[in-house]
């Protein structure tokens, strides 16, 4: 429906802004993700697709970084390159201080990944999936069982733990997927559209979990097409459109910049920043990027 969700959450975001401004003022801060000139071309029979066209990123350790963009902007492609799942056409990327192309396994040990389609094996139980995941990251079978139990409690899936994943709801699958990305206590957690397709209650649960995970010291890199999500959760955001980053900063900075540029009275919402950055109109954006209030 209406896209004014950003306004409603204006107040909630203020303390987070202050936090991240503190952080970004520290010089020589350790970077959790850094990329220069990232390019991805898909070559297929029907020609070449330039999905990502020179993306540069600098995500500080400890922050929740939001990668905001409409469908097809190149968010998933960027995440797949940063998480070693896809080759990089050109450019360089370091995650948790390690070069993605040179030492993919070292990167894999330091990151957790929950992709856009929660890829879970329907024939295993939630517990089995977590135990297997922990074993693959080097835990003994005893450690893996303990870790699985701990994570099931964290994402509130203890009751469903011994049922097959096939019968889980969408929200339960997302939470399990999130848990499975945490078995090895990663330094950086990548979440590709963690709440797309979820009902509002499940969405709030996932937000809470993201905040809790971040509070334990994990850097979170999340993509979203929801403006409110970026506004609520993220210390800093980058807006990507057509494979290029078109804005970057804290939600507060982005709104402030636009307000100064326009010199208008009411402070703009993140939505207006987004519209300005992507050259979209309200009508067009309704199909691309959504407020959560619908």
């Amino acid at each position: 429906m209406e896209l004014d969700a950003g306004v409603a959450t204006e107040r909630a975001v203020v303390p987070q802004q202050e936090m991240s401004q503190d952080r970004s003022s520290v010089p020589g801060m350790k970077l959790a993700v850094e990329a220069q000139g990232l390019v991805k071309q898909y070559r297929g029979r029907s020609g070449t697709v330039d999905a990502v066209r020179g993306v540069g990123l600098a995500v500080a350790a400890g922050e929740v970084f939001g990668f905001l963009g409409p469908n097809g902007a190149g968010k998933s492609t960027t995440v797949r390159m940063l998480t070693t799942l896809m080759s990089i056409t050109s450019g360089t990327a370091r995650v948790a201080g390690v070069d993605v192309m040179a030492e993919p396994d070292a990167v894999r040990r330091r990151i957790g990944v929950a992709l856009q389609e929660a890829g879970l094996d329907p024939r295993q139980t939630g517990r089995e999936l977590l135990v297997l995941q922990a074993r693959l990251f080097g835990s003994s079978s005893g450690q893996a069982s303990a870790k699985a139990q701990e994570l099931l409690e964290l994402v509130d899936l203890v009751d469903a733990a011994d049922r097959r994943i096939k019968g889980y709801s969408g929200g339960m699958k997302r939470r399990l997927d999130l848990a499975s990305a945490l078995v090895h206590e990663p330094e950086v957690l990548f979440l590709d559209e963690p709440t797309t397709g979820l009902d509002p209650a499940s969405r709030l649960t996932v937000w809470d979990e993201v905040r809790r995970i971040n509070a334990r010291g994990t850097t979170v890199f999340l993509t979203t097409q929801y403006l409110e999500e970026a506004d609520q959760l993220c210390n800093r955001i980058a807006i990507i459109d057509g494979g290029r980053i078109v804005r970057e900063g804290t939600p507060g900075q982005l709104k402030g910049d636009l307000q100064r540029r326009r010199a208008t009275a009411p402070p703009p919402t993140l939505e207006e920043v987004f519209l300005d950055a992507t050259g979209r109109t309200r009508e067009r954006v309704a199909g691309d990027v959504k407020g959560v209030s619908e």
């Binding site: 879970l120 297997l132 995941q133």
Partner: protein, 251 residues
């Protein structure tokens, strides 16, 4: 290797969770055994057919059924399910050797094949079959069939990794028709027509079949056994190497 074991364990669990998938693997080979014996059993009475070595025709044709059971390539069908469902990407994001990702399933396939082959041999005992090469021969028979299962599943995994499509992987499985039937499956190679004999000579499955057959009909005859093992060893190495190569460049 330990990671391949963990993944193999999961693949076995998956097999146990879908027992219905084992039904055709047991039923179709038994069906072929019954039909083959029913059609050709009278032409080749054991008393006057020297190539039966005193056993029934069922013993002669059992290897075709065992190889058929080992050529379902279920590992690849589950793999393509993982790929289509996205779970494969989760596994790929783990810091495990790329080869463990493809070898785990092949290990499970070998284990499943041992169980299915043993069941098929037991079920075919009422047809008057005995394993002339004794317990050692029976073990060799299990291993040889399991290695063939790895070769075939490995081949189908190549299609799965390349196409990432269940339909294509299923179609790829149809190569078992020429592979299994351009062989001396009804009569020994010397009795085949000339073109058929040539085709069978070039078909690697012929040597696996002849190896299995010698284990059933004769005391340990090392020459055909060695040829059978040589064929699966070479093909097995090729398949695993190609699988590893594909997964290394999987994008």
């Amino acid at each position: 290797m330990q990671q391949a074991g963990v993944l193999g364990g999961r693949a076995l669990r998956e097999g146990l969770r879908t027992p219905e998938s084992a039904v055709p693997t047991l039923f179709i080979p038994l069906f072929f055994l019954v039909v083959n014996v029913g059609q050709a059993g009278k032409i080749f009475p054991s008393s006057s057919t020297s190539f039966l070595e005193g056993q029934s025709y069922a013993a002669f044709t059992l290897p075709s059924s065992l190889l058929l059971a080992a050529s379902f390539g279920t590992a690849a069908l589950y793999l393509v399910e993982d790929i289509e469902g996205g779970y494969f990407d989760k596994l790929r994001a783990a810091p495990i050797s790329r080869s463990a990702l493809v070898i785990g399933r092949l290990l499970a396939e070998a284990a499943k094949s041992v169980v299915i082959t043993a069941i098929l041999v037991v079920l075919s005992l009422p047809f008057g079959i005995s394993i002339a090469s004794g317990p050692v021969g029976f073990l060799l028979l299990l291993v040889l069939t399991a290695l063939w299962a790895v070769v075939f599943a490995g081949f189908m995994q190549l299609i799965a990794l390349k196409t990432r499509s269940a339909a294509a992987t299923n179609s790829g499985g149809l190569v078992f028709f020429p592979l299994l039937f351009l062989t001396p499956n009804f009569v020994p190679r010397e009795l085949l027509t000339r073109p058929m004999e040539i085709a069978a000579t070039f078909n690697p499955v012929t040597y696996v079949m002849e190896g299995l057959r010698s284990l059933i009909l004769q005391d340990l005859a090392w020459a055909p056994i060695a040829r059978g093992f040589a064929v699966v060893a070479v093909l097995g190495v090729v398949m695993v190497a190609l699988n590893v190569r594909l997964i290394r460049h999987y994008d």
